[in-house]
């Protein structure tokens, strides 16, 4: 194992929101697939998995081949099967939707095939013949792992630098535990590493333990997959009260160890997908009264509709068009959030102030961008929030490539995998004398 996780983890209390299919269920479902040509599900998948082909292989009993079809496009196909928002990707585009029929359960079938491959220990890939080229990857999240695996298939030497003790990035520390738990993510990393020759150096921080200049000097190419930074905060009074915490930080604590959540009232600030995970996670760890506070309206929220529906079913409340003004507390512990209602133009409405009582407040209003860390590298294209890459993951500075949340601003695991994989192809082309 690359990392030992503590046995006692708060996330352990969660059960799978979408349970695994049995072999019988998978066969019946696979036989429903029409095997469409130029299937819309493929187009909807950021990694372009040949979905009809992998489903047909389940139907014929060729489950090994099915898993290979998935991994050929998406080496993290096992976790993506669990964490992808399939409702808005492949499943949402299944042609059966146009017939008013239940769409094919693509995510569950993908989980069936990839879990079967894991459980049987199937081996699919070998490293390519050594090229003598060395590539450094910064960050051990999905983008870097996908990039590293593909680079090894090309035969390049690969070292991943990860400042934290755990591997897998947000797949390990951030995925809602009713989708996937941290240990499964670490197992997947081990499986990716089984191709051999991927060296992960944990506890090495770029800029502190090793400089960007060192990397540029010592390696033939560098891939930056550092994701996003710490949680943003509102900048209002009372942020130092105990019980106020960034949602991403809270989720990580819950996934990697035991936690205690005092009191029975939770508030989550934000209306994106991290907020939608956080409300359900608070319920799951034993907070019975959970309210989401969002400045916009219910139809205008940025989080996925299907996730919010699931939260509502589980009993989450929401306060729409609501602006937090400050955190109130007693004896250093938060007791509530003072808020004001907003109109349709998001302007405060006078005399509408009220306090939402809370023992825990999670702030899910986005994460810091890590662009300043790269300021010393001239030529890297970027805007206010992202490193700008081309289709090959190239940043504009020779040797330097990027992918994942750093480059897409914060999307899904499957986007990070696609960008990491494509950057590996770009790097390989560059190292093979092609056009960078």
């Amino acid at each position: 194992m690359t990392n030992q996780l503590p046995k006692a983890r708060a996330e352990s209390v969660f059960e799978d929101y979408k349970p695994a299919l049995t072999a019988a269920q998978a066969t019946v479902e696979a036989n429903r697939c029409l095997f469409c040509l130029d299937a819309p599900c493929i187009t909807a998948c950021p990694t372009g998995i040949d979905i009809p082909q992998f489903i047909r292989k389940i139907a014929t009993g060729n489950v090994r081949g099915s898993a290979k079809t998935i991994f050929d496009s998406n080496i993290l196909g096992m976790s993506c099967a669990r964490v992808c928002p399939v409702e808005v990707l492949c499943v949402g585009d299944c042609v059966y939707n146009r017939m008013g029929q239940a769409p094919i359960q693509i995510g569950k079938l993908q989980r069936y095939a990839t879990d079967t491959a894991f459980d049987n220990g199937y081996e699919f890939y070998e490293a390519g013949a050594p090229t003598g080229k060395k590539v450094a990857l910064i960050g051990a999240g999905p983008a870097s792992l996908a990039c590293a695996h593909r680079l090894r298939r090309f035969g390049h030497e690969v070292i991943i630098f990860e400042k934290r003790p755990v591997v897998g990035g947000l797949n390990t520390t951030g995925v809602a535990p009713y989708k996937m738990k941290a240990d499964r993510s670490v197992e997947e990393v081990d499986w990716v590493l089984s191709i051999g020759g991927i060296d992960i150096k944990n506890g090495v921080e770029i800029g502190k333990d090793i400089s960007l200049a060192d990397l540029e000097r010592d390696f033939d190419a560098v891939f930056i997959g550092i994701g996003l930074g710490p949680d943003n905060h509102l900048g209002v009074a009372g942020e130092d009260l105990a019980g106020v915490e960034g949602a991403v930080a809270f989720i990580e604590r819950m996934k990697l160890g035991p936690i205690s959540v005092p009191g029975g009232r939770g508030v989550v600030i934000g209306g994106g997908n991290t907020a939608l995970d956080a409300v359900r996670e608070l319920l799951g760890v034993g907070v019975p009264d959970v309210t989401m506070i969002y400045r916009g309206t219910e139809p205008g929220m940025t989080g996925y509709e299907h996730e919010w529906k699931a939260g509502k079913v589980e009993g989450v409340k929401a306060s729409w068009q609501t602006q937090p003004l400050e955190y109130v507390g007693e004896h250093g512990q938060v007791t509530g959030v003072r808020c004001i209602k907003l109109d349709d133009k998001k302007k405060p409405i006078a005399n509408t102030e009220f306090v939402v009582p809370a023992d825990t407040v999670l702030v899910a209003i986005g994460q810091a961008k890590l662009l300043s860390d790269l300021a010393s590298l001239d030529g890297i294209r970027r805007d206010r929030s992202r490193v700008l890459i081309d289709a090959d993951g190239f940043t504009g500075r020779p040797k330097w490539y990027a992918g994942g949340d750093l480059a897409n601003g914060g999307k899904e695991v499957v986007n990070a995998v696609a960008e990491g994989r494509d950057a590996a192809i770009g790097i390989h082309s560059f190292l093979s004398g092609g056009v960078a």
């Binding site: 047909r56 014929t60 009993g61 060729n62 290979k68 220990g121």
Partner: protein
């Protein structure tokens, strides 16, 4: 008797050698397109080879014909479309020069793939001419279409030849006089016994046979118009039946020839092959290669990826390294009824954890078998009266849940004994079950 246990799945695939040899026709794998619409033109066959098909039997060449609108009919059953399929299309409608030019192009571009040219003409002179042109175009083999059961047979060709062993032998011997490349005779299933027809091809000197061609059929009736389907204006004609539903008929005919001691020619198996499992079954019953049409017409050339991969994995998991390790391996088990062990006994068992309570087994056993599965008051799981269960498999066949009903062997203490032994007075049979005297 020890329980049958599957070998453990291998972690790493050992890629078997799928190279196929059918009477001297070599292809990189045993998967060929059958002579049919998917093998109608050079562009199609090139695309098929790009997808992985190992060979193609070119749609039958002869005097080009003219076809009708509509040409195909489907048999749909319990929500599944086209489990059976029929056609009233004839041989090529494209000029011979065009076909031969494209054959030449395909062979130039794909020298290692097998291109077999299917032929159907009438006189010896015509056979001589079209064989020479096929060989000049670079064909790897010829397939004699003695099987088409509609249209062409009315003109004295196709199944009109295949149903008459003497005609089959005579024309095959003409062909063998002029051919310098391997020749397969394609047999029609529209006969009472396939063996004399296979033997006729052998007597004519053929290098191998391919079977089955399509089965004479009417796919259905349009009840609103009261016309036979597929409808051509106010009428239709009998067509050739194929698709998944014909596989058992084809398997039997392939096996009947494969086990015939005096036959011994290579076989290219055809009939309802839709996936790698079907293909493996045809190989196990003696086919050296398999030909596919209907599933390609319904799902496209891309099905071959799974066929190659599935067959390779199956062979690898069982330690098979080449096709010969599989070809014919099940033939010795195809026996006469009189030589079956009458004392071999199985009974059905229901896995209560898997049972969903549909009671299809109860009604099937009650109305269609031996009345030994009974509903249980207060439970959704029926009970099997093993003292009456004859081990017929019907409940297992009708059960919608995989692996819910299994047929379990019973040690009844009787030594094996066949009907033939019983008649000869050398075997003791166990008492009958399910007779309800």
């Amino acid at each position: 008797m020890t329980a049958f246990v599957l070998p453990p799945l291998k972690k790493k695939l050992t890629q078997p050698d799928l190279t196929s040899n059918t009477g001297g026709i070599i292809s990189p794998n045993p998967f060929w397109l059958a002579s049919a619409p998917p093998a109608n033109s050079g562009d199609q066959i090139k695309r098929a080879f790009d997808h992985g098909w190992g060979g193609a039997v070119w749609k039958t060449l002869g005097q080009p014909i003219q076809n009708v609108s509509s040409r195909f009919g489907g048999l749909h059953f319990r929500g599944t479309r086209a489990i059976g399929f029929n056609n009233i299309e004839l041989i090529t409608d494209r000029p011979l020069e065009t076909n031969f030019r494209e054959i030449l192009e395909v062979k130039k571009q794909y020298p290692k793939h097998a291109v077999i040219v299917s032929l159907m003409v009438e006189t010896e002179a015509e056979w001589k001419d079209i064989i020479a042109r096929s060989i000049d175009a670079g064909a790897d083999g010829l397939e004699l279409n003695f099987g088409c059961p509609h249209g062409m047979c009315e003109r004295g060709m196709g199944s009109a030849v295949g149903q008459e062993p003497k005609a089959n032998e005579r024309i095959t011997s003409w062909v063998m006089k002029y051919s310098t490349i391997p020749v397969l005779v394609k047999l029609t299933p529209n006969v009472d016994d396939i063996v004399p027809n296979g033997m006729a091809a052998k007597a004519g000197g053929a290098d191998g046979v391919s079977l089955i061609n399509t089965i004479k059929s009417i796919i259905g009736v349009d009840l609103d118009r009261m016309t036979v389907e597929p409808r051509v204006g106010a009428k239709s004609s009998n067509g050739g039946y194929c698709g998944a539903a014909v596989k058992p008929i084809a398997l039997h005919m392939v096996a009947a020839l494969a086990r015939e001691k005096d036959f011994g020619l290579p076989i290219s198996g055809i009939g309802g092959i839709s996936n790698w499992r079907d293909a493996a079954e045809f190989l196990a019953l003696g086919s050296s290669s398999v030909q596919v049409c209907t599933e390609v017409m319904l799902r496209g050339y891309r099905i071959v990826e799974d066929m190659i991969e599935g067959l390779s994995t199956f062979m690898s998991d069982r330690g098979m390294t080449k096709l010969d390790d599989l070809i014919g391996k099940a033939v010795p088990t195809y026996s006469e009824w009189g030589d079956l062990d009458m004392n071999y006994e199985t009974v059905a068992k229901i896995d209560a954890d898997k049972c969903i309570g549909c009671h299809l087994c109860v009604v099937a056993c009650d109305d269609g078998a031996h009345q030994c599965i009974h509903p249980v008051a207060g439970s959704h799981v029926p009970v099997i009266d093993e003292s009456e269960c004859v081990g017929c498999n019907l409940c297992q066949i009708v059960c919608p849940v995989p692996d819910c009903i299994s047929m379990v062997e019973v040690d009844n203490g009787y030594a094996p004994a066949t009907w033939n032994e019983h008649v000869a007075g050398t075997g003791t049979l166990r008492p009958k079950k399910g007779v309800h005297p």
